[in-house]
């Protein structure tokens, strides 16, 4: 393989998990997060000569969000394009920190229901707050990186994420979600 492939992959693949977290919440209907991640890396590769330093994962997240928007637009022009969901998809988006041995079926079911509710409540937040929370709390970006991705001052990010979290906590309390409650 060409040397610069390796340079690119070495520089970007360590951030795959962060990009995946962003993609899972940026992918619109009919778009698989994995496809969005791939599109992100292909776009990043094509633009790698324009990368001027700074946070690599912030750069990738910005590309991911742009790719999600343009993919949603192009999907509207290609109604025949089928989503590529496969029968080998894993379990629902539920991660149990203590591993399967510590979680009985009831815990898994409750956690799955709670995750669905958290996802629903998160979707109710204004996009700037939601994206700030996804980037910082889910994908592990710093406030500075999040500001770079979203193109706004760092203080604005902190304010958005704090207001968003408080609103989310209130929505979850109204929904009776167990997790997150004291």
């Amino acid at each position: 393989m060409a040397a610069d492939h390796r340079v690119f992959l070495d520089a970007t693949l360590p951030h795959l998990d962060a990009v995946y977290q962003v993609a899972r919440h940026a992918a619109r209907d009919g778009v698989e997060p994995e496809d969005l991640v791939q599109e992100t890396f292909l776009r990043a590769y094509a633009a790698f000569d324009r990368y001027r330093g700074g946070s690599m994962r912030a750069w990738l997240a910005a590309i991911c969000l742009n790719a999600a928007r343009s993919e949603a637009r192009s999907r509207r022009r290609r109604p025949w394009d089928l989503p590529a969901r496969t029968p080998l998809d894993g379990p629902p988006a539920t991660s149990l920190a203590d591993g399967p041995e510590a979680a009985d079926v009831a815990d898994i079911v409750i956690a799955g229901l709670d995750a669905a509710e958290v996802s629903r409540c998160l979707a109710m937040l204004p996009e700037p707050q939601r994206l700030s929370i996804v980037l910082m709390d889910l994908a592990g970006y710093t406030a500075s990186e999040t500001a770079e991705v979203l193109g706004c001052p760092r203080g604005t990010v902190l304010a958005r994420v704090h207001r968003g979290r408080r609103r989310l906590a209130q929505l979850l309390a109204e929904a009776g979600v167990r997790h997150g409650q004291p």
Binding site: Y45, L122, D137, A159
Partner: protein, 250 residues
């Protein structure tokens, strides 16, 4: 600390972000003990952060390989046109061009080996179309199934998708690749909204190259061009390829 103005909110945000100096942190700790309003804000902030963790799902292990493969494939056909240069200026650009040309040469060499036969005839040194070459390379990269022939003239079981679909862009043609296991035989199916060009030496099985059959070593290719176009590649005898292709979901 007692008044809850904008400055107070900003300090609260900095406190939650862990960015206050130790003296301010101590003052805030004391303030929180007596201020129900701020304590509630801290609690809600913390609870939401914890709840959001429920949505975390680590990237699956195969995703890294998929990305690596897609980038390598996307890089290959760009050698003759406008390769990405990396971020090292002209020297890197030249190095990449040389490396990319070398990559294409390696792939072309693998595909156009002297033993390579298309439709039973030597194809000469004709260059394989990029879209077909990618499908063939992918089919070779997928581990073969336990069988190389179908056990009978009819399928015994439904096709099973192996792994995930992969999207590649050779020469800007969008192709979705998927690997299938059918009665112990592994096959790769490629779908594109554009036609798969007929390689030199391929056998036309319908007018104007809308459908064609080709052989690349022990790999056979069966293509039906249309909307969308489908190309199936498998290490099976010709007689079973059409049956195999017909069995795969569109």
């Amino acid at each position: 600390m007692d008044s809850h103005d904008q400055g107070h909110d900003r300090m609260l945000q900095d406190f939650l972000a862990g960015e206050l100096d130790p003296a301010d942190v101590s003052r805030w700790d004391e303030h929180l003990l007596g201020c129900e309003l701020c304590w509630r804000a801290v609690r809600e902030d913390r609870d939401a952060r914890r709840a959001v963790q429920l949505l975390r799902k680590p990237a699956l292990p195969w995703l890294s390989e998929r990305i690596r493969f897609a980038v390598e494939v996307a890089a290959a056909p760009q050698a003759g046109s406008d390769p990405p240069s990396g971020h090292g200026g002209l020297l890197s650009r030249a190095r990449l061009a040389i490396a990319a040309v070398a990559l294409v040469a390696v792939i072309a060499g693998a595909v156009l080996l002297p033993g390579l036969l298309v439709g039973g005839r030597a194809p000469g040194r004709a260059r394989l179309p990029a879209a077909v070459s990618v499908v063939a390379d992918y089919a070779r990269a997928i581990p073969p199934g336990p069988r190389t022939q179908m056990p009978g003239e009819r399928l015994r079981s439904a096709p099973v998708l192996v792994g995930r679909r992969v999207m590649v862009l050779p020469g800007h043609q969008r192709i979705v690749l998927s690997a299938w296991r059918v009665d112990g035989v592994t096959a790769v199916a490629a779908v594109s909204s554009r036609y798969f060009p007929m390689p030199g030496g391929a056998r036309r099985i319908s007018g104007q190259g809308m459908a064609w059959l080709a052989r690349l070593g022990n790999l056979r290719l069966y293509c039906i061009n249309g909307r969308p176009s489908e190309l199936v590649a498998a290490r099976v005898p010709e007689a079973t390829l059409a049956l195999l292709a017909a069995s795969l979901p569109a």
